[in-house]
């Protein structure tokens, strides 16, 4: 018996949360965090925007899932017994993993406390500090400094890359104010030698911690 309806029966597109999330990650990789939307993901999947609403409650939930996926795939904290080098090692790998996903660092800066995978990394950094007798708010302040350093560098580097020009404002923004102390920072945000400057700041940071 041939089921005649089998030929005419409507076929589902085969969506599910993991497919949607993976597509979202791809969209971020190619169009940046701000390019992530219900419509852009739907287009990439070849479906109507509304098709996604069966798997995610709204655009915010879609973004959360994509963010979680990207951060979960990023570097985990490793412990070798040397605090400074462990922190620096993680920071380098974390930066490298965020780089292919422009804009994610900036978003993480204001949303890390809502991202489980980010909390895992902060927790691991705190555990690392605890191994060396650093506890309480001092540990929070120190690990947070490393964590936000990576995020801010990533975002600053993205902005500079996108603008294609040296940041004018850190040097002289036309206000006439010299800001001589900021010159230290300026060289670290205004040139294309990203890796060297990242290293310089990182070392100063983990040496203090």
């Amino acid at each position: 018996m041939v089921d005649i309806h089998a030929y005419t029966r409507w076929m589902p597109a085969g969506l599910d949360l993991s497919v949607i999330t993976r597509t979202g990650v791809d969209v971020v990789a190619s169009h940046g965090w701000d390019g992530l939307s219900t419509r852009s993901v739907a287009t990439a999947l070849g479906v109507t925007p509304m098709a996604l609403y069966r798997y995610v409650a709204d655009a915010a939930e879609l973004r959360d899932a994509v963010l979680e996926s990207i951060v979960a795939a990023s570097a985990a904290v490793r412990s070798t017994g040397d605090l400074a080098s462990d922190l620096a090692d993680w920071a380098r790998r974390f930066r490298r993993d965020l780089e292919p996903h422009p804009g994610v660092a900036a978003h993480l800066l204001i949303a890390w406390f809502d991202c489980p995978a980010a909390l895992d990394r902060v927790e691991s950094l705190l555990a690392l500090a605890a191994e060396h007798g650093i506890e309480g708010f001092e540990a929070v302040a120190r690990t947070n400094a490393v964590f936000t350093y990576v995020l801010m560098r990533c975002e600053a580097e993205r902005v500079i890359r996108a603008a294609g020009v040296v940041r004018r404002s850190l040097r002289d923004d036309g206000t006439g104010r010299p800001r001589r102390h900021l010159r230290i920072l300026a060289s670290h945000y205004t040139t294309a030698r990203f890796d060297a400057h990242f290293e310089f700041g990182l070392r100063a940071l983990v040496a203090a911690a």
Copy 2:
């Protein structure tokens, strides 16, 4: 001689950059940073969105002008000779001044290096550190810790206020992971006792600096 044309002559709306910027600041105060747009400002002014384009190049320039205006009106750094108390004093006043403008702290977190008024405050903090013999990247790291602490607290407090609920994720987000080190932080982001927790973290931070 009565100029007959005076009665029929078309009247300009009397726009200029400062009026637009002030209106933009009001819009942010009442609808938050994300509520700021060319259309929302134009509506508040009773003009067409396109009327603004004679005074600002695009939406980004409008946002920059509004941000600059808000930060320029915020607390300036004061020096009394006591580094820890000067840092804490500025942090408290800065937080108080950002609070009426929801979302500005979060945006500042990723855009402070493009905001002259923010750079002025960072420069002043660096100068403060220099007065006490703290120079170079160590000064940058320490003052940045205080600066970003205020911004992150403001944003976290805004999110909690907006959600109207205790942040679930810092405690237990359903992943089953205990994250015992993060419990320290949790109490600082999950209750409504904003002022007390802000003080606790701030003191730990400036004591280290």
